[in-house]
């Protein structure tokens, strides 16, 4: 139960709220408002004149094949990252949950990647996948696979997916492990006595009981893949080769910072903002309705 604090007068509570409100206003509402405002404007290349164009930036966007390509890339990228990160984490959590020697050490090691900065993680993967100096890159060359992510778009996409998923596995792992540990041992024993083999036990008892955790993680992973993977992509491929690994968030950066097309970049930001609001809404709705067994 939460303790209810009663203030005398209205001044103190407002005063206490002020810092947070100020931070939110300055770092969220103001830039968000600016983005919305800018998304309805068009500026010439030298920044000398600005024109109010209503929704023209958006309609241009949705007719731009490069933007649609980025959107498609994002779909591929996010679903793959979420699937890979969730699958790998679930597998590792199930293994770590078994009674094995040194399970504490495994758990600690599996949580480490989360503490690695995105750019560092990317460099790490670069050293692994680089066609001429990378461990895996050379191994591919040795068995005759034509591996070069710098020219092959599909290979580049695979690499950023692996690198981005790897970073998220730790986070998912912690949640899955906690979920597994909250399943009473006696329920699994009852299933064993009922005749269920380990695989069947997993799919009919463990997995359904983990599904609330899995759903929560799915949304978190999608948000991560949408918005937090800029660093990995930037360090690994810079959206290339061509536009093969350019996702929506990366394109915002390219158009806004590199091409200085503020109107379009702002419009793209607004689109992303709407997506994140949508995902957050799903999350909140879900948390409110969360099934407690």
């Amino acid at each position: 139960m939460r303790k209810k604090v009663i203030f005398r007068g209205a001044a103190l509570p407002y005063l206490l709220l002020l810092p947070q409100m100020a931070v939110t206003l300055v770092f969220f509402f103001w830039p968000a408002g600016m983005a919305v405002w800018q998304s309805a404007q068009r500026e010439d290349a030298f920044g000398l004149s600005t024109e109010f164009v209503w929704f023209e930036n958006f309609s241009d966007l949705f007719h731009d094949p490069i933007y649609l390509n980025a959107a498609w890339n994002t779909v591929i990228f996010s679903t793959s990252v979420a699937a890979l990160a969730l699958g790998a984490a679930l597998f590792l959590a199930v293994q770590a949950d078994k009674q094995i020697r040194g399970s504490g050490l495994y758990k600690t090691l599996l949580i480490w990647p989360y503490a690695v900065a995105p750019a560092l993680a990317a460099v790490l993967w670069l050293f692994i996948f680089h066609p001429s100096i990378g461990l895996v890159g050379r191994a591919f060359a040795a068995i005759g696979v034509d591996w070069d992510y710098r020219v092959n778009g599909g290979q580049a996409m695979a690499m950023v997916i692996i690198a981005a998923a790897w970073k998220q596995v730790s986070y998912n792992f912690i949640f899955f492990l906690a979920g597994l540990q909250s399943i009473p041992a006696s329920v699994l024993e009852a299933a064993a006595i009922d005749g269920a083999r380990p695989m069947r036990r997993f799919w009919t008892v463990v997995f359904p009981l983990l599904s609330p955790t899995a759903f929560f993680l799915l949304v978190v992973n999608l948000v991560y893949a949408f918005f937090d993977t800029f660093g990995v992509i930037h360090a690994l491929t810079r959206g290339g080769p061509g536009n093969a690994t350019e996702t929506l968030i990366y394109k915002v950066y390219v158009d806004g910072v590199q091409n200085l097309n503020f109107g379009s970049s702002a419009a793209q930001s607004v689109v992303l903002m709407i997506i994140v609001i949508g995902l957050t809404a799903i999350q909140f709705r879900y948390i409110e309705r969360r099934v407690h067994y």
Partner: protein, 354 residues
Amino acid sequence: MASLDIQGVTKSFGATRVLHGIDLAIHDGEMVVIVGASGCGKSTLLRIVAGLETSTSGAVLIDKVDVTPLEPADRDIAMVFQTYALYPHMTVFDNMAYGLKIRRVPKPEIRRRVQEAADLLSIGQLLDRKPRQLSGGQRQRVAMGRAIVREPKLFLFDEPLSNLDAKLRVQMRAEIRSLQKRLAVTSLFVTHDQVEAMTLGDRLVVMNEGRAAQIGTPMEVWSRPADTYVASFIGSPAMNMLPATLAEGGAAARLADGTVWRFTDGARPGGEGRAVILGIRPEHLMPDAAGLAVTIDLAEPLGSETVVHGRLRDGTALTARLPGGIPQEPLILAPDLAALHVFDAADGKRLDPA
């Protein structure tokens, strides 16, 4: 239905020995209750029978077939857990049908058997509910139902009543007993509650520190406890234990204050002066002018009778169950000499007339 044989089962966790060789043969259709204080190894023994733990040595035979190396799934047993261990995400119907589905029983047959078991336990109207929508007693019934539908060779009960309130516990106890008799399933029931043990079991196994202190029918265990542990564990309030020495060549016992009680069933071996412990159940003490003076510490009136907790002159605690209301001091009590139990003071074993 089947017999169960436990042969020389031991269990060690690292250097700690929790079971020191248990031998037990349970006949077809019999209900045996394992009773003991917590930590005596009774749950471990049950889990070894279920296959959830592996024994360090010894064998478990179901229907004369050695199942020691088999997985729980292959032993054809059903177990009711203390926490019920229902599958939280399944309805009552699915909970009960789970084991049958795994065994590929045809759907109509599953429906029939689940319905039958549900009617037997009067939970027929709950089949669509999830476990969290049920009360403790209803969950208990579902757990029972899940065991019944499987029609296993053996029922295992791991303290299934200890999470219920007192009234429900008494009711479920009677239901389990009548159900077990009706279905005639060989059953092993673990409990720490001696009343449950006495009322449920065809036979009892009283366990103490990893050993079977006594195996016998409830009346045998109650009337002829094998040692002081069994004597004080079975029966409520617990049996009084008075230190004494043999007198008159073993035909009587002399208490510390010099009182001499003659045995009615013959002399004990060991001769004059052997240190013994005399056991007297509280209900076998009655007011008698020729008895021991007792100072009353506490009297608990139960209506038809009163439990008196008192002290002898030398400070030894004594409990008596006396008919009627709270008695007046001075209270002089003497035992029914025919109901006296004699134990060896050194190892606590029962001493019978030679």
